[in-house]
Symmetry: D2
Subunit: 428 residues, 4 copies
Amino acid sequence: MFRQLEEEKVFKDPVHQSIYVQDATIWKLINTPEFQRLRRIRQLGTSYLTFHGAEHSRFSHSLGVYEITRKIISQFERNGYSDWPQQEKLVSLCAALLHDVGHGPFSHSIEQVFDTDHEDWTCEVILGNTGVNRVLREVSADFPDKVASVIRKTYDKPIVISLVSSQMDADRMDYLLRDAYFTGVHYGTFDLERILRVLRPYKDKIVVKESGMHAVEDYLMSRYQMYWQIYFHPVTRSSEIVLRQIFRRARELYAEGYEFGFMLPPLRQLLQGTLSVEGYLQLDEALVQTAFGQWMEEKDELLSDFCRRFLNRVLYKYIPLEQRDETWLNGLRDEWKSIGLHPDYHMEVDTPIDLPYDVYKPGEDSPEKPPILLLDDREGLTEIASKSEIIQSITGLHRGKYFLYYPEDLVRPHASKLSRLTRERLSL
Amino acid sequence: MFRQLEEEKVFKDPVHQSIYVQDATIWKLINTPEFQRLRRIRQLGTSYLTFHGAEHSRFSHSLGVYEITRKIISQFERNGYSDWPQQEKLVSLCAALLHDVGHGPFSHSIEQVFDTDHEDWTCEVILGNTGVNRVLREVSADFPDKVASVIRKTYDKPIVISLVSSQMDADRMDYLLRDAYFTGVHYGTFDLERILRVLRPYKDKIVVKESGMHAVEDYLMSRYQMYWQIYFHPVTRSSEIVLRQIFRRARELYAEGYEFGFMLPPLRQLLQGTLSVEGYLQLDEALVQTAFGQWMEEKDELLSDFCRRFLNRVLYKYIPLEQRDETWLNGLRDEWKSIGLHPDYHMEVDTPIDLPYDVYKPGEDSPEKPPILLLDDREGLTEIASKSEIIQSITGLHRGKYFLYYPEDLVRPHASKLSRLTRERLSL
Amino acid sequence: MFRQLEEEKVFKDPVHQSIYVQDATIWKLINTPEFQRLRRIRQLGTSYLTFHGAEHSRFSHSLGVYEITRKIISQFERNGYSDWPQQEKLVSLCAALLHDVGHGPFSHSIEQVFDTDHEDWTCEVILGNTGVNRVLREVSADFPDKVASVIRKTYDKPIVISLVSSQMDADRMDYLLRDAYFTGVHYGTFDLERILRVLRPYKDKIVVKESGMHAVEDYLMSRYQMYWQIYFHPVTRSSEIVLRQIFRRARELYAEGYEFGFMLPPLRQLLQGTLSVEGYLQLDEALVQTAFGQWMEEKDELLSDFCRRFLNRVLYKYIPLEQRDETWLNGLRDEWKSIGLHPDYHMEVDTPIDLPYDVYKPGEDSPEKPPILLLDDREGLTEIASKSEIIQSITGLHRGKYFLYYPEDLVRPHASKLSRLTRERLSL
Amino acid sequence: MFRQLEEEKVFKDPVHQSIYVQDATIWKLINTPEFQRLRRIRQLGTSYLTFHGAEHSRFSHSLGVYEITRKIISQFERNGYSDWPQQEKLVSLCAALLHDVGHGPFSHSIEQVFDTDHEDWTCEVILGNTGVNRVLREVSADFPDKVASVIRKTYDKPIVISLVSSQMDADRMDYLLRDAYFTGVHYGTFDLERILRVLRPYKDKIVVKESGMHAVEDYLMSRYQMYWQIYFHPVTRSSEIVLRQIFRRARELYAEGYEFGFMLPPLRQLLQGTLSVEGYLQLDEALVQTAFGQWMEEKDELLSDFCRRFLNRVLYKYIPLEQRDETWLNGLRDEWKSIGLHPDYHMEVDTPIDLPYDVYKPGEDSPEKPPILLLDDREGLTEIASKSEIIQSITGLHRGKYFLYYPEDLVRPHASKLSRLTRERLSL
């Protein structure tokens, strides 16, 4: 099943130094149009507007996930652990590589507004009429289904799912290291080599040797820091809010029969909810940003303003709210109207809690996110939080402040018309 | 002239850790649409197709050039060197920051095909009806002219030009470090802190204390290695060739009156040679790549094939030529025609020599590239190559191999129709 | 008071890149015999027997503490904070530099066995007949007293004490970074630059801007990890136990009038409890290790065996104890005797808790270890643990396992004579 | 021959992250007293007096050389190169590990003064009555001889010698990286991973794939920079000169029958030229420095002064000489005498050329230092300098300035008695 390349291919990678490809199937997958397209999708969505180094793509992340998976399996093979089913190597590597192949541009915002799901798209790319599917079918007729079932977490070898998708999987390990590298913070750095050394296949799970507990603490603390310092950064949230207003406004206008000065087929499909795989694959960040650039000229003032804000980085301002003060917020909607603003577009209360990111929650023993288990010679398996107070302490922490986001530049000229409380809270 | 911000602004940067903005003019320049647009222009053009980490933008590089310039001036001020004219700080910082503001998408290819020049565009952005110009005019009516004349190297304080543009200027120092960081190679690393410490203002030049000679050797060797390992990498050259074919073919079709299925105003201006500043500023990489995506559907087969190659990374293959064998190459054009290929598009002989990069050439004492001078208490100034055999050795080295690039996938099926010599040379 | 050197001196340092000396007093202090002697005292005592890279000296650490202090003060001066008393710069820098000048070889072990205290010795070096004292007196007659009182935490400017000695002082910041660098682990790395940026002088304390809370969390987690991974490593503990047996045995023999085959005056003074400053300053690690080498030839078998163990790294083995099982341990002493071993020397129960290191304990508001305070515009000062659950979680954590240490090589040959429980526990 | 350890042993290393020991013989060798003794010998001799971070030992370097050798062999095995004789693995690893086991304290100085050779001592440790010999003999009776013959470059498998000792061997690769890491300069960094990837066994040599040429250039430039910036640093040279005066004076005094206040058997053996292996192994840096400390009290003023200078870092000053001006230097000897100084001890003219370090000299095709060969499919083997002008340029470069070293503190008080030329040259 594993067809050795004549000569190993090596990618230079800033995070892992080198990424080694030894199998022909992997090499062909990387060269499909669908995988190459990930070069035009940023890994961190709008974070580059907060951390200018965060311009790296899902292409480089996907190679990194593949490489970490390869290293884990290679460690298992080197040590000859009998609980690792050796014939599962290729399906594991393919699932690792293709894990994010269904990501679109600024996925989080698009998924929120249009209620799509990148995991579904990943499976469609794997199973549909695509280059990826053709390469996988060369392995065997049912191979695409196998890979897709790993992504969907229904594969009949749970250890493969555990490897590709868990609280300490190759995906998370790569993105923490990579996002730290490209933003330039050091919070995300942990001792990858040490963690790779303490992983063990055990029955149908990947677990951690007990002596590796401090290394896992370190990894989880890195993750905790990255979430609060990078992923939930309020400036990034602001840029996502502006981005969502664009999509929401465009969808609304489309529904109303508005004539867009600029339109392209995949965008139209998106707005009318009829995206095909082909259309989806054309929807990269280049296309979306080009549309925004053209829409800056639209006669709908809301749409053109939001596009201008996004491209020129004129974001919404934010203030922390001690708690959701619904009375004041409801009143604020009326105040907004009174000065000519749209409360549905020009204010948003946000808390990081609804982001698709998560901090480690040990109780959560769902098939989706198996917890991290420590393996001890005497006691067998234990969930890590029960042994580590550090890890307990970051569970359910920081339930997230509320922030109010709004376009200050539009509000300030009308400050005198606002209530005293509002002026105070917004420092006007 | 220097208007201190109330609170210093800090950008997190992977290369310099932090970038400090203390002056209101700099802060406002960063927030202009023209400068923000640099986020949509990659620093290294097509290099990301060879080194996937090289996805960083000219935005981050421009901030880096500003920061290095700020550090050099700060060192001069701290030591109170009388040869440094203190009132030139703001013009120097602005010129450093805006140095690349006229860069377009994939500048090298576009400049070659359309004969434009990013330095001219930089001056147009500084002097034209732009946000940048408005911010600069707030300083004084003639301030935009001053900044532009630094870019054009005609400013009447040569020391400012020497600071912003020389063989060891902030521009080169930042891009070597930054490109090394993002590609993940270490060749470009040199001891920036040490170099900053040995720079001295001396009469109307920036020179190097003699004890810094080895640090300069190290810097020049880094530069040499980066050129040959990164900038002149044949895979990158291949992607630039494919890119040029797109632009050449599109211009040719446009001239012939071809009806494009997809067109946007700035593209049309580009093809007909009538680009305005406004049009140019819309021409970012997002727009160009979107056009390529749409042109994959054009009925002109050459154009659609080149676009597909570029986006899906199906590049031309290359073989090294010991020397330009004109007889064989001329014959090859005919062989190409005989198998239905276009010699003007389907083959290209390339040598890195014509790239806008350069290795250090000490003799070249043009106002464009002042050489690096060592300052010695006894001897005064000496050009560095006369003291360092290392530096002499990398002067004029490696005049560049010739490579032949061609689409192997189109040639191989017709191999049997080609001459024996050709088959041998192309390993068919 | 500050006498600028004609030319700034620069030390190349792996942790801080460069260490800058601008004041003549600092330069002279570095060149005293007492300070140079720190080159012959390892920063981490016996840790090099566990982490071979940990061979760095207190000399380099002391320079690092000085440099961090210099940077903090420089930030205060640059921002013109009025709560920082500018005239305290030199006394602060001297106290930072000389903080550890009284450390002897393997201080922890020697202090435990001989009940001495390196802080007392530091003051004696500062106040006694030494090169250090002479340099300090050049500043003013009472300057040595001032510096010593900072070390003793009785100086009448509490902010200076807060700078030099607190839960987040320059000492701890340097040793975490330095020990991480030289051992090669990355746990100790935190964002020094960011922490330096959020420190503020506030009344008579150094506090942290509230937005710096996550950076402090990161620093404290680094510290927590370093303590458990490096400082309390059981192999290092084992080597300290062996070392203590040497000193204990030598003292016992000396008291009994034993004739040593090798003796030197400072050693004799140590063993008889009459160490003078002059003697103490001769007691470096070279001398102590040389004595051990010679004592390998002593006729007292215990002493020669312990010396051999220490120099050849034949350490005691250890097993974790679930709890102090006094009944078994008492019985073990008898079992030891029955096989010819000395229970006072050949077994030791150890828990890290008694080490002079500490994890952060927020409640502990002693003048010795002022807690870390956050400064908020609205609320004023708050102890950090009350805001951070992370920090709460590492307070009083890990009260430390008990370990039993013993020379397995001496026990194993007699295994059959030991009780079954003992054989089981020791895996014999 | 290879006896797998039950569990792989891992050393944490700052340069290679981890050092893996899988074979029982290697593990036992590391635990011999002779190898542990390398912890008390600094890798860089007196360089720590110039670069305070350079406190690392030959113990850590020896582990590093072993690890690089292990990685090279592992690459050969993984790729199944038939030119690599697989049964030579253990002898190669042992030779790599033990390569420096015969180094004494401050070897360069001791070898110069007493005309000993650390390579001879290495062979004596391997072949003599030592722990190392006993471990090697467990493999087979002739195994110590085999290992020693690799060290002596007479082993009958030249490829093993080429691996352990050549212009680009594991020894050099480790020390460049390690010395750069611990001094904190970055000159010594090169892409180790890439170099390991381009090495090939070819007939009886280790050669380099041609595509690795730039990587080798980079390695040789690092080496060149390290030599001139670190190894030949004039302050380090000064400290070695002071050190040599101690040894020269002590030997002279011993020959004259002087009664030393402090003496130990191995020192006496050294001074009378009768060092046994046992004595040599006791001669570590601790002992030597302890002797210097005691000799500070000797009544011979020269000896006590040199010892004080070395321990307190009161080194000789140096001035560059344009050329060896013998007339002036001869006169200077007389001037020295006239002011009561000893020309044999108080002045020394030095040029780096006589150091046991070397820059790459391609012509030098001795069995000692085989040149670096490039392997090309068409052309076979070529010496690298013939292809690289960079490498040519660093051949024979920098023949080394002359420096005059002398104790300025002893000269300055008598400046008025010196000739005008001397006063000028010494800036008195």
